[in-house]
Amino acid sequence: MKLNRVRKSAGYAVIIVSSLVMILPFLTTLFNSLKTYAQYTAVPPKWFPSPIQWSNYSEVWKLGPFGQYTLNSVIVTVLSVGGALISCSMVAYAFARLRFPFKNTLFMIVLGTMMIPPVVLIIPQFVIFKSLHMLDTLTPLWIIEWLAQPFGIFLMRQAFLMIPKDYEESAKLDGCNPFQIYWKIFLPMCKPTFATLAVFTFMTKWNEILSPAIFLTSKENFTLPIGILSMAGQWSGNEQYMVAAALMSLIPILLVFLFAEKYFVQGTNSSGIK
């Protein structure tokens, strides 16, 4: 089939060009992070660093805040992922399997609030956390994830609806209450959906900029994305350190993506579900 061959080569051409456009800027950045300051600011620029200055990556850690920023990011991300998994799955189980007053109304509200732009809620959020004396702490960044966000509820509910009824019937006869059924039977059966929600929450929280920019004021409380930017003053004359710091902040999420690509793809597709 000649036509098919043509189509394939056209497809390859488009994809290879596009992949280069994606990857080459990152490669350039990687090279920049290994340059001396003189090379980094050389005009005209040299693409490849020589000599390769590996020490940029260790120098970054010698400045106090970078380790602190990493720790802050880890704290926020881990607590957020935990909160999203527990709260969303618990609420989703109730929606998928239990009958309770106002259930349908409440679920319509869940779907409806997905459409509310976060911008309207930001200022009241700030006021709430101010009155709770939580401004300039990491708490506002993760506590909200313990209150079941709509996307996670929706995702987990879809997974729970797929589980056949027989599983819980026998557990009920054994005298398990709904919470025990959820905890012992439903949670272990939906690991893939948990992984999807986990990687998505991880990605969102690890990269988040708006919330930290609003809730945090002291430098020592910053998370990586705004923390790195705030180090510009300390590193003037050594800006290549900032490039190294930024690329290091990408490593954890890159690893998660390499090992859990499947779940990223699943999550992306379910974010496109009505």
Partner: protein
């Protein structure tokens, strides 16, 4: 949902236990809704009709904030910048992502690598992207200017250039987000039956005609969804512009030279969190909310006209 028939008594007891446990397990969301959605919406509406500086209690001001807003040239500039950004960004990203997805939607070797390559920008924070784009578009030692000089053209100021800043930010945003939209389109394309394409090939349709007459209409549902979601999120663009125009170091500098890339969310952020004019900022938020509501309603209305259903 269907219960098997039980004796009335046990049925009532089951329901009671269900209700009790159901309400208990749904509590996190109820708290979320009452405090962070319903309460926040009402509070934000009240703030928008008040003078409020966070430090003192809100003072009722009627329509003052809205009147001031509609007479404020900076607001209209921010509005235009936001619309300009969205009009460039949404169609460009959607069309390019669809072309990429179509190219990827066949049995190719190295598929996993290609998908990874397109997803690296998606999983990067805007801080990472700042240094990646700086490697190319730094006015002094970036690759783009060195290339322009090589081929005998004038170097550009890129993000410091009033005319270039929004198109360049759009280009970078498309580059960053396209992998995500591509994956959504790929899922849509999996649902297009291959025999439709085969039938078209027998009729002698070329690549372009198949794309226009089969692919585009058959995944119009996905396209429509992508358009709505992109429009809503682009109208609230904040992080990219905050990071790439220096807002993290100096909030008042966000928005580029001569406010040429000041979008509504940056304006709101500066008014509310830099100058503590929370009432005025809430009014901006509500204007944004109403616009987004209208946009969504319009798109849903148009959907009936041009989305193709099987």
């Amino acid at each position: 949902m269907g219960d098997q028939p039980l004796t009335p008594r046990s049925r009532r007891r089951r329901l009671d236990s269900d209700s009790k446990w159901g309400l208990l397990m749904v509590t996190p969301y109820i708290v979320h809704f009452i405090v962070f959605v319903l309460g926040s919406l009402l509070a934000s509406l009240y703030f928008s009709f008040s003078h409020y500086d966070i430090l003192n209690a809100p003072q009722w001001a009627g329509l003052a904030n809205y009147k001031k807003l509609f007479h404020e040239p900076v607001f209209w500039k921010a509005m235009w910048n936001t619309i300009y950004f969205t009009i460039l960004f949404v169609p460009l990203q959607t069309i390019l992502a669809l072309i990429l997805a179509t190219a990827l939607n066949q049995k190719l070797r190295g598929l996993k690598f290609f998908r990874l390559a397109h997803f690296v920008p998606v999983i990067s924070s805007w801080t990472v992207i700042l240094y990646v784009s700086d490697a190319i578009f730094n006015p002094r030692f970036g690759l783009a200017n060195s290339f322009l000089i090589k081929i005998g053209l004038d170097p550009q100021k890129w993000l410091q250039d009033e005319r270039l800043v929004i198109p360049l930010l759009v280009m970078i945003a498309v580059w960053k987000g396209i992998g995500y939209i591509m994956v959504i389109f790929l899922a849509g394309l999996q649902n297009v039956p291959s025999d439709v394409y085969e039938a078209a090939e027998i009729d002698g349709a070329g690549v372009f005609r198949k794309f226009m007459h089969i692919t585009v209409p058959l995944i119009s549902g996905t396209t429509f969804l992508v358009l709505i979601l992109s429009t809503i999120s682009t109208f609230q663009a904040f992080e990219q512009i905050y990071v790439m125009t220096g807002g993290a170091l100096d909030a008042s500098s966000a928005g580029g030279p001569n406010k040429s890339s000041l979008v509504l969310m940056i304006y709101l952020y500066q008014e509310g969190f830099t100058f503590l004019r929370m009432g005025y900022a809430s009014a901006i938020a509500w204007v944004l909310f109403v616009i987004l509501f209208i946009l969504t309603a319009l798109q849903v209305t148009f959907q009936k006209k041009w989305v193709h259903y099987e």
